[in-house]
């Protein structure tokens, strides 16, 4: 589009905080009709929040949005759709047990004339066929969505947006579960949408895709605007530099003691179709290995497979020199693996139970007396020890329910309950998500204490700073494959980011 075209969407001074934590500071951007804006940034940089505001999921605290020059403030997702803004989520929102046509019209079926409220099948078929043609999906409108591949389902979502006359379509990580030919096909469709004058906001970690598809790029970091410009004026290195920033945190405590030489844990050839491909690495006693990967890279899935929560087709896991075959959580725990899940509310803690009850949950056998009956005295003793070791905010362990603790203290309880077992391997998935800096430091101190006593740690984190600050070694994972291994001092932040984004080979060629 020629310069001087009015932007379709303008966003200025967007600000948003959750529970006192500001996640967006004065963010602004604009998109013209027929153009694509690439929105990039690390996890937690504020991309999702901005888009949720655009899609009517959240309301901003401050800032102005204009659509076609008119004020735009959707109260809910329906209002956004009505205004012509369609949001295609990473997790598609389709009914798999309905047909393509039914999915397009499920909230407002056109009816045949007459007394009976019958669906006008002919009309929905014809209209569906028309929009399917626009997205190049040659399927019968009556095909059940369950029978479609991921890529085809995405095209159905786009068709749905078109059938509602969307003028702005937001894509959130559209390519993560697509094959390369499907990705190419998606890009061709996006080009066609642009030619029709539809504006696109494209969010992705795959920077090359963003550069190829988008006219302009906006980079966010920690909720701030880190940079913006025309895609043709920006290089990949410049974008990565904007994403990671240069700030060095000093909150990471020094660790005494050295890494042992004995391999505490190893995995080799771990493969599960569609999730992991030939993953192999080992961790020494007293070593922290960081796992850097983007959301959906397979980092959490890897942890779940090691702990026996998900199955895998082939691969070998060894802990303390002994093989762990066909792991289940019980077997993994007995072998000395502890797992801090990324969702502590959902998986790690029983919110309505007291601190003491939660503390002994992972080691009930140790606090049982004669005939396997739980020994209240032992429970109290053990949980008090935990509370003081973790520097918990309260010592009323038998009375205070976990749901009344702060996020940081909850996290300490989860870690504390696993520490009781002196794990050989501790897998920590996002151990500091959603807790404040002070509590983070406490958690780091606890992790350091753990490795000083000889545990091996696999640390998964979205925050690259955290990985760099704590790890002895960092592995990168992308699309279910290990794409790189980096040693400490100095960690090359940009190289790690690049490898985590799955770009290594092509980036090297570009440099």
């Amino acid at each position: 589009m020629a310069d001087g075209t009015m932007p379709l969407l303008e966003v200025e001074g967007l600000r948003k905080s959750f529970f006192g934590v500001t996640v967006l500071h004065d963010v602004g951007f604009s998109v013209k009709p027929g153009e694509a804006l690439g929105l990039v940034g690390e996890n937690g940089s504020g991309k999702s929040t901005s888009m949720n505001i655009l899609g009517g999921v959240h309301q901003p605290d401050a800032g102005e949005m204009r659509l076609d020059g008119k004020p735009y403030a959707p109260a809910d997702p329906k209002a956004a759709i009505a205004a012509g803004v369609a949001f295609i989520h990473q997790e598609l929102n389709l009914f798999q047990n309905l047909s393509i046509a039914e999915n397009l019209f499920v909230d407002a079926f056109p009816r045949r004339g007459g007394l009976l409220p019958l669906i006008d099948r002919k009309a929905i078929s014809a209209r569906t066929e028309a929009v399917l043609k626009e997205v190049d999906l040659h399927m019968k409108p009556s095909t059940e969505v369950a029978r479609l591949s991921q890529g085809e389902r995405q095209l159905v979502e786009i068709a749905k947006a078109l059938s509602r006359n969307a003028r702005l379509i937001i894509f959130d990580e559209p390519t993560t579960s697509l094959t390369r030919p499907e990705v190419e096909r998606l890009f061709a469709i996006i080009e066609r949408l642009k030619q029709r004058g539809i504006a696109i906001i494209y969010i992705s970690h795959a920077l090359e895709d963003v550069m190829a598809t988008c006219e302009t790029i906006t980079v966010l970091r920690d909720g701030h605007l880190a940079g913006a410009g025309a895609a043709k004026d920006l290089s990949l290195q410049q974008i990565i530099a904007m994403m990671v920033g240069r700030s060095i945190d000093t909150i990471y405590p020094q660790r005494s003691g050295t890494t042992g030489t004995e391999v505490a844990f190893s995995v080799s050839g771990l493969t599960q179709p569609g999730v992991a491909e030939n993953i192999g690495f080992d961790i020494k006693a007293g070593e922290i290995v960081g796992l850097a990967g983007l959301m959906g890279s397979g980092r959490s899935e890897l942890a779940r497979m090691i702990f026996g929560l998900d199955s895998f087709r082939s691969g070998r896991i060894e802990i303390g020199g002994k093989p762990l075959s066909e792991p289940t959580p019980v077997k993994a725990m007995e072998a000395g693996i502890a797992f801090l899940t990324e969702d502590r509310r959902g998986e790690g803690l029983l919110m309505d139970f007291t601190i003491a009850e939660n503390t002994v949950l992972a080691s009930l056998r140790d606090v049982a007396g004669a005939f396997g009956i739980l020994d209240g005295g032992k429970i109290a003793k053990v949980s008090l020890e935990m509370a003081s070791a973790m520097r918990l905010s309260t010592d009323k362990v038998g009375e205070v329910k976990v749901k009344h603790l702060s996020g940081g203290n909850q996290q300490k309880v989860v870690i504390g309950k696993w520490l009781r077992r002196q794990p050989k391997l501790f897998i920590l998935d996002e151990p500091t998500r959603g807790i404040d800096v002070g509590a983070k430091q406490e958690v780091y101190r606890i992790i350091n204490g753990l490795v000083e006593r000889g545990s091996a740690v696999l640390l998964i984190s979205s925050e690259i700073e955290e990985l760099i600050g704590l790890s002895d070694r960092i592995l990168t994972i992308s699309r279910g494959e290990i794409t790189g291994s980096f040693d400490r001092r100095p960690f090359d932040r940009e190289a790690i980011m690049t490898a985590a984004a799955g770009l290594t080979a092509r980036l090297e060629a570009a440099l």
Binding site: Q96, I119, P273
Partner: protein
């Protein structure tokens, strides 16, 4: 592995048909009366009440809910008809039964959607309440019906026995509602993914409520058809029939987890169950074996459903990297 799952799924989805064939062969070999045409007509007449009940149950199951109260609803409406509605033309009696049965369904639906209590609990409670009221009203006596109702059983419409006719009408209406109306498709949407249905702005509570009312109405109709066949109701009337209705639906491919199945499958499931009972009857099996066989069928149906759902989930599991070409 994926291919193997698909093949297994195909077998599971056709399990009722395979079972039916086995049944025909086994009972056919044991008695030549079983395969007689007249016997099939009998089976369908016998299956009509349970099929109608199961059609209503299908609506509720499709939204991932359950209705255990239909047997109680049958007993109470029949008792009210026998006690208080004598001497009036039967169509008015039937209308009164439908109003009462629909109201019972509405109460179930209201409590489930308004207070968010599990339908399993709510309808289990109403089941006991309804049976209790009926026993109180009838003093647990066996109640007889008037001749005008009893003769309906021998009546035919367009040459079709009345029970089969009623069943065909209910089936046809249910099929059209589920497959050809916005409401029907939204029932599937709600059962398939309640969260997505809410996000799409569908009136989820209203849809679930309506399904309970439909289940109630079907219990009324099914009960009425059954009265014309039996002629009298006692405290055991409709006892545990809800489980046969659920088994019929699940055998016919309706998932207890919601969103999958259809009324045609349900009808087939009902006929399958009645065929087993009919076959046992014809070969003079020990009556005490009937409940065992019925229990085995229910177990089989639920086991198949669980396995089927697991396989579907596995097939639909999200992947983070493209699968290798198959």
């Amino acid at each position: 592995m994926k291919l193997g799952s698909r093949a297994l799924l195909l077998i599971l989805q056709n399990a009722p048909y395979l079972l039916f064939i086995v049944l025909l062969v086994v009972f056919g070999l044991m008695s030549d009366r079983f395969l007689a045409l007249a016997n099939f007509r009998n089976i369908i007449i016998q299956a009509a009440p349970i099929a109608i009940l199961a059609i209503g149950m299908t609506f509720v199951l499709l939204t991932a809910q359950i209705d255990l109260s239909v047997g109680g609803s049958m007993y109470l409406t029949a008792s009210v008809l026998a006690l208080y509605l004598t001497g009036i033309p039967w169509p008015i009696g039937l209308a009164a039964v439908l109003v009462l049965a629909g109201a019972i369904g509405a109460v179930n639906g209201f409590v489930v959607t308004r207070f968010g209590i599990a339908s399993f609990i709510v309808t289990l409670a109403t089941l006991f309440i309804l049976r209790g009221i009926a026993m109180y009203l009838s003093n647990t006596r066996t109640l007889m019906f008037e001749d005008q109702i009893l003769t309906l059983n021998r009546a035919t419409v367009l040459g079709i026995p009345s029970a089969i006719f009623a069943f065909l009408v209910v089936f046809a209406i249910a099929w059209v509602v589920l497959h050809q109306t916005p409401f029907g498709r939204q029932v599937y949407a709600v059962g398939g993914d309640p969260e997505a249905a809410r996000k799409a702005g569908l009136p989820v509570s209203r849809i679930v409520f309506a399904c309970f009312v439909i289940a109630g109405l079907c219990a009324g109709i099914g009960g009425f058809v059954s009265i014309t066949q039996i002629g009298a109701v006692g405290p055991k009337y409709g006892d545990q029939i809800e489980f046969a209705a659920i088994a019929a639906a699940v055998l016919g491919g309706v998932s207890l987890f919601g969103g999958r199945g259809s009324v045609s499958g349900t009808v087939f499931g009902a006929i399958l169950i009645k065929s087993v009972q009919n076959g046992l009857n014809i070969i003079n099996a020990d009556p005490y074996i009937y409940p065992l066989v019925t229990a085995a069928i229910i177990f089989l149906a639920v086991a198949i459903d669980g396995l089927r759902t697991r396989i579907i989930e596995r097939l639909e599991r999200r992947t983070i990297r493209p699968l290798a070409a198959e």
